[in-house]
């Protein structure tokens, strides 16, 4: 899940230099779009209702992100402080809006029953929704990688992460790539939102904000602008957090992750790969 929300963040910062504090809002919007769609499909069986809700969540997350780039970020190119303020404002506004419409209470999301069952592997009982999350993250990683490696827009994005001005100097309008990256980031965050609905069993307005800080940590540790670095660091961060919570004490997981961030910043500021944080 960390990879899903962090991957878009990494690409957005790597290509555009935008610290998108509204990224959590994409997750929240995607999650609520899923829940809302499901709530309107009352008579439909659970599995198709779940899938349609998920698709709606992805679509809304992607469109929302693209609109944010077009109308909020684009007018503020090269004005980094204003961009940060706008994205922080949007994050707060999204939470406030969702709370105003649907309240602060957690709401349940319908999901196929088999997701709540477990599968035993080498003696370990692993909930099936975890497998879905792992497979989804892998599929997204492969799909993003294929997009970056095999398409012209992917080429533009990879080059733009290195040197945006030179891409422009080759006659390429990078603004379209910016919108596309935001949309892809929004879709990935929305996938995280959909899966978080299943993981936590409920949905609430603060979900995106609470996960965003970990997404930033993953991105910084992995290296800004590096998809592979993000994938690797998501695994490391997730493992450190869970092991610390399990073997030390619940709650120490978050502290451990922050300590890990500090160590990485001191020892290797550019993270596993990618740009300097």
């Amino acid at each position: 899940m960390y990879f899903l929300i962090a991957s878009g963040l990494s690409l957005i910062y790597g290509l555009m230099g935008v610290l998108n504090f509204a990224h959590g809002a994409f997750l929240t919007v995607g999650a609520y779009a899923m829940w809302f769609t499901e709530s309107k499909l009352g008579g439909v069986p659970v599995l198709p209702r779940f899938l349609l809700g998920a698709l709606a969540g992805l679509a809304v997350g992607g469109v929302f992100a693209a609109l944010v780039e077009l109308f909020l970020i684009r007018p503020l190119y090269r004005r980094h402080i204003e961009q940060v303020l706008v994205t922080v404002g949007l994050a707060l506004a999204t939470v406030a809006l969702v709370t105003a419409i649907w309240g602060n209470d957690a709401r349940t999301v319908a999901a196929p029953g088999w997701l709540g069952n477990t599968t035993t592997v080498v003696g370990a009982h692993i909930p099936n929704d975890r497998w879905v999350e792992i497979v989804t993250a892998l599929v997204v990683l492969l799909a993003l990688n294929a997009f970056l490696r095999r398409t012209r827009y992917g080429l533009i994005i990879r080059a733009g992460v290195e040197n945006r001005a030179m891409v422009t100097a080759l006659g390429i309008d990078v603004r379209r790539a910016f919108t596309l990256v935001f949309a892809l980031g929004g879709i990935a965050a929305a996938i995280a939102g959909v899966l978080s609905n299943v993981y936590f069993g409920t949905i609430d307005p603060q979900r995106g904000t609470s996960l965003l800080i970990f997404a930033f940590i993953v991105v910084v540790i992995g290296g800004l602008g590096s998809l592979r670095g993000t994938a690797a660091s998501a695994v490391v961060v997730g493992l450190v957090q869970q092991y610390a919570n399990y073997y030390a004490s619940s709650g120490l997981g978050d502290l451990s992750v922050v300590l890990l961030l500090g160590i990485v910043l001191l020892a290797r500021p550019r993270g596993f790969s990618g740009s300097f944080a």
Binding site: R152, L155, I156, R158, A159, V161, E162, N163, A165, M166, V167, T168, A169, L170, G171, I172, D173, V174
Partner: protein
């Protein structure tokens, strides 16, 4: 006849007034050298023509105003650019660097590989692992891939070994047969070989324009305008 016309060009960067109303023309089908000591504004001039830095004044390409246009639109009007530090995309392969530069319907790979056969052999190699000279080939090849009306070339021999300097000069000679070039270059031997006209800058102003050969033949003028190092380079 003038293809590229610059009139009263000003560039401010921070508190500094880098270009203070420079004016010059670049004749069609010829190589014009833009000369001067370090820090006089040569690179800034090219970057201003590309729209990479904000500027005031008039820039015309074949009668079309370039001033105020975004960089990608300027490029699509037929301007190729070889930047000072090559700026190849290190994480992309040679082929990907070239593919990214494709603009027109028929990119001129035949010409590129005729001039730089090594690039064909190293197509799958990451550009960041190339030598400086090979990276310079990629940078020039990117600009040659499209049928540009003018090439802006910034110090293509900078940091290269003498053998490679000769190679780049050979390429520039070939390129000058195909298109108009505005060349920033510190190596006066290369300038003597390829340039027809010369524009000299000093502290953000044009201090001399005229035939390149006449300027280079006047050693005291060269020493006065271009500094000590340039005499050794020539």
């Amino acid at each position: 006849m003038s293809l590229l016309s610059v009139s009263d060009l000003h560039v401010h960067l921070g508190e500094s007034h880098i270009l203070q109303g420079i004016s010059f023309d670049v004749a069609d089908g010829r190589v014009t050298a833009l000369l001067g000591r370090n820090g006089v504004g040569k690179t800034t001039t090219l970057r201003a023509l590309m729209g990479l830095v904000p500027s005031a004044g008039t820039i015309e390409l074949g009668g079309v105003q370039l001033g105020g246009k975004p960089t990608h639109k300027i490029v699509r009007l037929g301007v190729g650019y070889v930047p000072e530090d090559r700026d190849v995309f290190a994480g992309l392969t040679v082929n990907e660097n070239l593919r990214l530069a494709e603009r027109d319907g028929e990119p001129r790979y035949e010409l590129v590989y005729e001039l730089f056969p090594e690039l064909k052999e190293r197509g799958q190699q990451a550009a960041g692992t190339l030598s400086g000279g090979q990276q310079q080939m990629v940078a020039i090849a990117r600009a040659l891939l499209n049928d540009n009306r003018v090439l802006l070339v910034d110090e293509p021999t900078k940091g290269l070994a003498p053998l490679l300097v000769t190679e780049v000069a050979r390429v520039l000679e070939r390129v000058s047969e195909l298109t108009t070039v505005l060349l920033v270059e510190q190596n006066l031997g290369v300038v003597a070989r390829v340039a027809r006209d010369a524009v000299v800058l000093d502290t953000g102003r044009v201090v001399h324009t005229g035939p390149a050969q006449e300027l280079l033949a006047d050693r005291p003028m060269v020493h006065r305008m271009l500094g000590v190092g340039s005499a050794a380079a020539a």
